[in-house]
C-alpha cells in the first residue's frame, strides 16, 4: 500500500540522512511513522529517515520499544475445537437450503435461515407432542370407570372380621346368661365360648 506523503502526518522532509537527528524529522512526526513502520506500511525512504531519528533520539526509541512490545501480545492462539460432525452438518444445511430455496425463485427465506427454521419446526413438533400427551392423559383420567361398591376393598383383614364376629357372639351369650340369672336367680352361667380370644 502506498501512503500519500501529504497525508495527516505531513510531508517528510527530504535530504535528511540517517542518524542526523535535526534534519527535519521531529519527534511527533517520528511517532506517527512508528506504527506504520511496525505494521510494514512505511516506504523505504521514510523508514530510513525514521531509523536515523531513532538512533539519535532515546525518547522515540522508548516509544518504538513500547509499540513493538505491544504487538508481541498479539499471538495466534490455539485453534478452537471444531465440534464433531460440523462439516457434515454444514454441508447438509447448505445443500438442503439450496434445494429448499432455489435462487432463481428469489424466495425471501435465505439458506442461512434454514437452521433457525429447523429449530422452529422441531420446537413446534415438540410442543404439539407435549400437548397431545397432556390431552390423552386428561381423557384417560376422565373416562376411567368408577369402582363398584362391592369391589371396594375392606379396610379390615378377614381374620379381624372373624374375631369381631366371635366377640359379638360371646357378648350376646353373656348378656343372655345374665338375663337368665337375673330372671330366675338360679342357674349356672354358660361355659365361655371356646373360640373367644379375649
Amino acid at each position: 500500500m502506498t501512503h500519500d506523503p501529504h497525508g495527516p502526518i505531513g510531508r517528510i522532509p527530504s535530504g535528511s540522512a540517517p542518524g542526523d537527528f535535526d534534519l527535519g524529522l521531529e519527534c511527533a512526526e517520528a511517532r506517527v511513522l512508528l506504527p506504520r513502520h511496525l505494521d510494514g506500511e512505511l516506504e523505504d525512504e521514510h523508514a530510513s529517515h525514521l531509523r536515523g531519528h531513532l538512533l539519535a533520539c532515546p525518547a522515540c526509541r522508548a516509544h518504538f520499544q513500547d509499540q513493538r512490545s505491544l504487538k508481541r501480545w498479539f499471538v495466534p492462539s490455539a485453534p478452537s475445537a471444531v465440534p464433531s460432525g460440523f462439516s457434515a452438518r454444514v454441508a447438509a444445511l447448505a445443500v438442503v437450503g439450496a434445494v429448499m430455496v432455489p435462487s432463481a425463485v428469489g424466495a425471501t427465506t435465505a439458506p442461512t435461515e434454514i437452521p433457525r427454521l429447523l429449530a422452529f419446526t422441531t420446537g413446534l413438533v415438540a410442543a404439539a407432542a407435549a400437548a397431545l400427551l397432556a390431552l390423552s392423559l386428561a381423557l384417560a383420567i376422565d373416562s376411567r370407570p368408577a369402582a363398584p361398591a362391592g369391589l371396594r376393598a375392606d379396610p379390615l383383614p378377614e381374620a379381624l372380621q372373624r374375631l369381631d364376629e366371635l366377640n359379638r357372639a360371646e357378648d350376646a351369650a353373656r348378656r343372655e346368661a345374665q338375663r337368665r340369672v337375673d330372671g330366675a336367680a338360679v342357674g349356672a352361667l354358660p361355659a365361655p365360648t371356646q373360640g373367644s380370644l379375649r
Binding site: 500500500m1 511517532r31 525518547a59 505491544l70 498479539f74 471444531v82 462439516s87 447448505a94 442461512t112
Partner: protein, 223 residues
C-alpha cells in the same frame, strides 16, 4: 468424514468448488473440513461468547456456499473464504448493535484516552505460554469498544494491510490509521489496568519538539 476424504484425495480447492457448485454435498463438506480450523480461529476473535463461535463459523460457510458462483479463482479459496468470515462477523456485530465501524459507539473516546496513563508496556514474559498470552490479550481486548477491538483484530490477528482494512470497514486509510493508534492506546491502558505487572516502571517520554500538527493525539481523518 474419512469416507469423503478418501473420495477427494489430493483434489484442489478449486476443483471441489466446481463440484460443490453442482450441488455435491460431499465436495462442499470436504471444503468445510479443510478450512474449518482457520474459520473458527478467525471468528473467535470477534465473538464475545464461546457459543457465538460455531454460529458465526456456520454462517460463514453457508454464505460461502450461496456465493460459490462469485468465486472466480483470482484469490485462493482460503483468502476468499477468509474475507467472507470477516464480513460475516462484522455484519453480526452490526446486527447486535455492536457497531464495529461507527464512532457513535464511543462518544467519550478522545476524552477517555486523554486520561490514560502514558505508561509503556513490556513484552510478554518468555515464561508465559502462548495460550496464556492469548488469554491476557483476549481479556484486554474485551475491555475495548467494538470499533477499536475490530481494527486491532484485523491488523494484528488477520494481518490485513491498511488498504484492506479500509475496504473491509468502508472507511478511509487515514481513519484506519488514527483508529489503530487510538485502539493501541486503549489496549495498552486495558492491559496495564488488568495486569499492572506488565507496565514499564517509567512513563513514556513526551516529544522533544512540539509538532504544529498536534502530536500524537490525532483526530480521525478522511484521507
Amino acid at each position: 468424514m474419512d469416507a469423503q476424504r478418501m473420495e477427494h484425495p489430493l483434489r484442489s480447492d478449486e476443483s471441489l468448488v466446481e463440484d460443490a457448485r453442482a450441488g455435491r454435498a460431499t465436495a462442499f463438506q470436504e471444503l468445510v473440513e479443510r478450512h474449518q480450523d482457520r474459520v473458527f480461529r478467525v471468528v473467535r476473535h470477534y465473538a464475545r461468547q464461546t457459543a457465538e463461535v460455531e454460529d458465526l463459523a456456520q454462517e460463514t460457510f453457508l454464505k460461502a456456499f450461496r456465493r460459490l458462483d462469485s468465486f472466480g479463482g483470482q484469490a485462493s479459496f482460503a483468502t476468499w473464504l477468509h474475507r467472507i468470515a470477516v464480513n460475516t462477523c462484522l455484519d453480526a456485530l452490526k446486527r447486535k448493535s455492536r457497531n464495529p465501524v461507527s464512532t457513535a459507539e464511543d462518544p467519550e473516546g478522545l476524552a477517555t484516552e486523554a486520561r490514560m496513563p502514558s505508561r509503556a508496556v513490556i513484552a510478554p514474559d518468555a515464561g508465559l505460554e502462548r495460550e496464556e498470552i492469548a488469554q491476557v490479550t483476549h481479556r484486554a481486548l474485551g475491555q475495548l469498544p467494538e470499533i477499536f477491538r475490530t481494527v486491532l483484530v484485523l491488523r494484528e490477528f488477520e494481518d490485513l494491510s491498511y488498504q484492506e482494512m479500509a475496504e473491509v470497514l468502508g472507511i478511509s486509510i487515514g481513519t484506519v490509521e488514527s483508529r489503530l493508534f487510538r485502539a493501541r492506546a486503549r489496549f495498552r491502558a486495558a492491559l496495564i489496568e488488568l495486569h499492572p505487572e506488565y507496565a514499564e516502571p517509567q512513563r513514556l517520554p513526551e516529544p522533544r519538539k512540539r509538532s504544529k500538527r498536534g502530536g500524537d493525539g490525532r483526530e480521525e481523518t478522511s484521507r
